[in-house]
């Protein structure tokens, strides 16, 4: 067992208590409205103690953590019921992207805020006309007097209201189509040209939002890569999103399965042969996922585990949501004290897992085309709908 893990355990025991006790087991995806302010303070505490960016280069405060350490620490955090991390988009998506593609200035400017747990990021990819077909973004960016001027709209932007910055994929070459002519910009949210409007989700809360840009601005140097590199950078970030960024989240899956098991034992569902098999299968697939991580982290080439991890975990989680509801039985319908219970949230929110970060259908396309070498989907244009 690593010493980092021991140190982290001690730290959690010493700190995740008192005024922070209420945060335990809270604030996971789908429960984002739980104590947002306190969770930000908690994030800064994590940062201050050096628990963010452990695998970054030492000049940015990394502590030489290995991939295996990262898994262990996430496991430890989940076992303590560590609260959902407000900073995960910055730490697990943007930071690795900046480390790979950003300039020294960008790294100096943005990494410390992430590392300290004081600056929060959101992801401005999707638009009304660009979901699965992300390359169809219409938001425009133009360079004027040493500044980028941005006009357009993003949608489904998670945590925009809680964030300080957004990374935006926009079109910088007028007349360009598809994945050409795009830029990847780092934009401050608190400015006159940005308007954020929450959207209520089927799970009750409003994690995601519309974000409108009307002559919003960022500095000329806030472009990652060059004009035309936007797609490449955006895809690199997505690879982190579909790959290891979800380790922390997946470690909490065990807690959720344990909660389902506990309830099944309490209410007698554990005697139902079909429920028993589904629980055993959920456990089986959880073990499979865990080993998939090891394969991903231990191979230098792409392995099958990389291609399949997103669809596998998201489908697993959605099935767990259904299992949770089935274990609850009819009582799953009842709302107590005006709030969904944890298992109700699990049931509802897990429907999103197979949509964001590339839907299951898109994952299958990717597997078929990249892992199996099957022909690519024809690109549209010709198809006309009747009506």
């Amino acid at each position: 067992m690593s010493t980092l893990r021991d140190e982290f355990r001690d730290w959690l025991n010493d700190n995740l208590k008192g005024e922070y006790e209420c945060l335990r087991w809270r604030g996971m995806p789908g429960d984002d409205e739980a104590y947002p302010e306190l969770r930000k303070i908690w994030e800064a505490k994590l940062g201050e103690a050096g628990w963010i960016g452990l695998d970054w280069p030492s000049e940015y405060g990394g502590r030489g953590a290995s991939d295996a350490d990262i898994i262990e620490l996430a496991e430890e955090y989940a076992e303590h019921g560590g609260p959902g991390r407000c900073g995960h988009i910055g730490e697990t998506l943007l930071a690795p992207t900046l480390l790979a593609y950003g300039t020294k200035e960008q790294q100096d400017k943005y990494l410390p805020g992430i590392k300290n747990g004081t600056e929060f990021w959101c992801q401005g990819y999707s638009e009304p006309g660009a979901g699965s077909d992300l390359a169809n973004v219409k938001t425009k960016a133009r360079l004027e007097n040493g500044e980028w001027i941005i006009d357009g709209q993003k949608i489904w932007t998670s945590l925009a209201l809680e964030s300080d910055y957004i990374f935006v994929v926009a079109r910088a070459e007028p007349g360009s189509v598809g994945n050409k002519g795009l830029v990847f910009l780092l934009v401050k949210l608190d400015q006159p040209g940005v308007d954020i409007r929450p959207i209520k989700q089927m799970s009750g809360s409003s994690e995601f939002n519309e974000v409108y840009f009307t002559e919003a601005k960022c500095a000329e140097g806030d472009i990652v890569g060059k004009v035309g590199d936007g797609w490449r950078v955006a895809m690199a970030l997505l690879a982190f999103e579909r790959g290891t960024s979800t380790i922390g989240q997946q470690m909490t899956f065990k807690n959720e399965l344990n909660a389902v098991i506990k309830l099944a034992k309490q209410n007698g569902a554990a005697n139902d042969p079909l429920i028993r098999t589904r629980i055993a299968k959920a456990y089986t697939e959880l073990q499979i996922m865990k080993f998939g991580f090891r394969r991903t982290l231990s191979s230098d080439q792409m392995s099958g585990a990389d291609f399949t991890s997103k669809i596998f975990w998201s489908t697993w989680h959605r099935n767990l949501g259904e299992l949770a509801a089935d274990v609850m039985g009819a009582s799953a319908e009842i709302i107590n004290e005006g709030e969904f219970s944890a298992l109700q949230k699990l049931f509802l929110y897990s429907r999103a897992d197979t949509i964001y970060g590339g839907t299951n259908q898109i994952q299958r396309n990717i597997i078929a085309e990249r892992a199996l070498g099957m022909p690519r989907e024809p690109r549209g244009g010709q198809m006309v709908t009747k009506g």
Binding site: I261, A264, K265, G268, A270, N271, P273, R276, T277, I279, A280, K281, Y283, T284, E285, Q287, I288, M289, K290, F291, G292, R294, R295, S298, S299, Q301, S303, G304, A305, F307, T308, I311, F312, Q361, Q363, R364, N365, I367, A368, E369, A371, L372, G373, M374, P375, E377, P378
Partner: protein, 360 residues
Amino acid sequence: MSFPFSDDHDMIREAVRGVLQDAYDGGKGPEHIYKSGAGYDAELWTSFAQDLGMAGIAIDEAYGGAALGDLGRVVIMEELGASLASIPFSPCSTIASDMIAGVGSDEAKEEWLPKIAAGEAIFAYTDGHHALTVEGGKLSGRVNMVLYGAQADVLLMSFRDGDKFKLIGIPQGVKGYGAETVETMDPTRSFSNITLQDVMMKDVMHLGEGTPEQFDAIVKTSFIGLAAECVGGAQKALDMTLEYLGQRVQFGRPIASFQAIKHRAADMYIAIEAARNAVYAAAMAEGDDKVEAALIAKAYASDAFFDVAGHAIQLHGGIGFTWEYPLHYFFKRARANRAVFGQSAREYERLATILLGEAA
């Protein structure tokens, strides 16, 4: 080389694949083996075990083996699954050699492990503790569906004696021993029913003893090999399917370009990769974790193989339903693997009992 395998494993995979695919090419192998009804290819076994030296892959170096453990066996079983070669590696070099290594006496190990490693003796194994009776120094009983039972030089059996289990070995051909080959849907492998009628106990070899738990753990961990065979078979069925999908043209385009087909192929791949995770995890697990990991691997991989083989037939259309085209052998092997060694429902119930306790 890719995790969890080493360069040694990769070399073995290449060598084994060369020999097996030459001889068998994924079920297209010598029809005469299948038609003979024997389900056993003596010639191939000799070259595989003796010339290639693969029978002792997991046996200790002290006994002439290669000491490459479960991961080494996984490599070989994947290739055996991909070729459906009719050789008794599975009983002889997985469960039987593990039984001897695990609960055998020193003499038994010294006598038999080197012979297995050198390809000089074929062993089969079956649970005998419900089937055997001893009366007046004579052993009688009947066990069904013993994998390569008719070909085994020695049939190993577990045998209950008070609160201990004994490991006994019955040499082929002793008086009272009868082996009758069973014709099964899957003709690529040999099963036999074994009858023992008043076999003199002095003709029976006493090879070792252990607790029921020890025997049980060896049986369960031997499932890792079976699960690896499922992964290899499923991968081959997917490979054959992908090749066909790329060639077959309908509606003016290769059928591989239809999304309904791509998504089904992707699902096959997802199932195989998950099964792979389960099998490799089990091969690498240690101590108490290994038994649970082996149960998981067997349950998951045997179901995945069956699903994948079924999808493969569907995606081939009529040709997939044709005897001449070897896909059906994989389908049949997949079904046999889930049926003969216990259905996944049984493993899932075992896991459920660990997680939830006994059902009321």
